[in-house]
């Protein structure tokens, strides 16, 4: 049994590598079509992502929201509940953290930062609870409700940042700055890497432990992979789905909090350029594996950071990496189908030889 799983894993890693390589080749063709050398472009990309401590720090700064929203997806999806509402949960979490930061201005950082994170987790978790309850109580498709909830949350926080909590100075669609004690320390000069990466590492460890080493994690995965078996095994699917969804929402809320505490120091009405969707794709690519989420987040962070350098040196627009990323996810989504077709062709050839 274990052997079979290992060979399946190997097959998956192989198709993942193949998908990444194929997507990079398609990217190379696009670069060629723009009259540039793919080698110089990709070299600039790699150098731009890893070429100096500052660049490495920037890469890791970009992985923080990806890891958190990726883990959020992994927990929910492997429990069989599809939380597409990460973006909305992130926005509410970000606002909650900012609210704590500009309201309780007298707290020292050691109390204030955890408080802001807890508020953010509660906001995200509670917002995820609603579609989860609608699913288990009424059987309403959570994919649709969470999509709708995304827009509701971004609009609601936009209202808050433009009207009741609008900053008195400067920017439109922004709240007041958080108190200085709440600002997370920057780790490398000029880069945006902040101490949030340590919290993120701790959270990732916790999620890994939860999903891989505890019976709760086993229950989650059993519901996702084999709901009927899980029910016979006496696992309360509804309860576990709701819990997984709350954890998922809380993680997204924390991701939002770090954008406020470590990056912008206030809530902005467009604070996330779709981090939760990026994180979701990261998690889907690695089939909701916790370790995979971390590695793939770093890879996506590299692509993102490196693409700016690539644009600077070769004038290839950095958005190319978005195209490459979406092609990777498409290939991975079609992975089973491709494998089946290949197997069929292979089987046909084999049959032909027998005759």
């Amino acid at each position: 049994m274990k052997k079979l799983k290992l060979s399946q894993d190997l097959e998956y890693i192989f198709s993942l590598a193949l998908s990444v390589i194929l997507a990079l080749i398609i990217g190379a063709i696009i670069i060629l079509a723009n009259g540039k050398s793919p080698f110089t472009a990709y070299a600039a990309l790699i150098n731009g992502a890893l070429g100096s401590p500052y660049k490495i720090a920037t890469t890791f700064a970009k992985t923080v929201p990806l890891i958190l929203t990726g883990l959020a997806t992994a927990v929910a999806f492997s429990s069989g509940i599809f939380n597409i509402g990460g973006e909305g949960q992130l926005y509410l979490g970000a606002f909650a953290a900012a609210y704590v930061g500009f309201t309780f201005t007298n707290l020292p950082g050691i109390a204030g930062i955890p408080l802001a994170l807890i508020f953010a987790a509660l906001a995200g978790g509670f917002y995820a609870l609603v579609p989860a309850l609608l699913k288990v109580k009424y059987g309403i498709d959570e994919v649709i409700t969470t999509i709708m909830f995304n827009s509701i949350a971004t609009l609601f926080t936009s209202y808050l940042a433009n009207y009741p909590f609008a900053s008195s100075v400067g920017k439109m669609g922004a709240t007041e700055m958080i108190a200085p004690a709440y600002k997370l320390l920057r780790l490398v000069a000029r880069s945006k890497l902040h101490t949030g990466i340590f919290y993120t590492a701790l959270i990732a460890l916790f999620i890994y432990y939860l999903m891989e080493k505890t019976s709760a994690g086993y229950d989650f995965k059993m519901i996702g992979s084999n709901p009927i078996f899980a029910r016979y095994g006496g696992i309360n699917a509804e309860r576990n789905m709701v819990i997984a969804m709350i954890i998922s929402g809380a993680l997204c809320g924390i991701a939002g909090a770090f954008e406020v505490l470590g990056n912008h120091y206030r809530f902005l009405q467009a604070i996330s350029p779709g981090y939760a969707f990026d994180g979701m794709l990261v998690s889907l690519i690695v089939k909701n594996n916790v370790l995979g989420v971390i590695l793939m987040s770093i890879f996506f962070g590299m692509l993102k950071t490196g693409s700016i350098a690539m644009e600077y040196e070769t004038a290839i627009p950095s958005e190319l990496v978005l195209v490459i990323q979406s092609i990777i996810i498409l290939f991975i989504a079609g992975e089973k189908g491709f494998a089946n077709i290949l197997r069929r062709i292979y089987a046909k050839e084999g049959a032909g030889q027998d005759v």
Binding site: T145, S151, L330
Partner: protein
Amino acid sequence: MYREIFNITLLQNTIRTATPLILAALGGLLTSHTGILNIGMEGMILLGAFFGVAGSYFFESYLMGILFAVASGIIIGLIFALFVIRLKSDEFIVGIAINMFAGGLTMFLLRSIFGVKGAFSSPRIQPLPDISISFLENIPVLNVLLNDHSLFVYVSWILVIAIYIFLYKTPYGLWFRAAGEFPEALDTVGISSNRIKFISSILCGIFCGFAGVHLSLGYLTLFTENMSANRGFIALAAIIFGAANPLMTYVAALIFGFFDALGIRLQGVGIPSQFTQMFPYIVTVLVLILVVKRERDKKRAHQARQKGLDKSQIKAADNLAK
């Protein structure tokens, strides 16, 4: 102030803002009848908007704009169908990937072809024509309301009726509905349900292309990054609200368009527009809850009837035994 906001121009604007929603929703309801939830409409609209502008710019012809948008719709519909139907990928993963792909590709091409970031406009871009209907000119209210709209406003009205007839009055429409509800039955009578799903996906791509080209060449005459601005998801909401019936979905699109137009006007006088913008999403969730509740009540009533039936049967059996 109320007169400034609530007047005939508001209704006229409603028709304008509802048009991209209904065009995309018509495509989405076709796939939803064949059993596919397409959340990639957002990206499909965006591609249509971009390629519409590109075609119109390069050939200085709105017809080429439409042609380009339709071509992009066919291609993205094919890709969607290839993955969802042929390769049996998860439909919503593919949908999300398409949204990301469309966002990335249009930004990339905007910069590599036109050399601009954010938005692109040019006098070379030919907008879609407005249509004047001469007999309406002398009718006071209807003239303002229905006349001199952009081409695709009228196309959308024709399509709503055409698709209603197609779905409910032709055998092909029956095939579409069967492909979603009883694919095996359809396959047994020799019609490939997968082929029907393929066709519905491509049609969805084309209709989203229409919605996109209407946005970038009819509603406005320019392309901006992410100009689909959640319309793909509002269209999804309209489909759910309208239970995938073209006429009901059109009503939903009109209602959502009304709140969109109202929001823009409220913002003009300094009232927050966020709540009017939220309306489609909140209503959709409420509709989902109501639908489920209604079905539950129906089921309960049915069960109660069954129970009653059982009792009467037992009584009858008892009587026989005596």
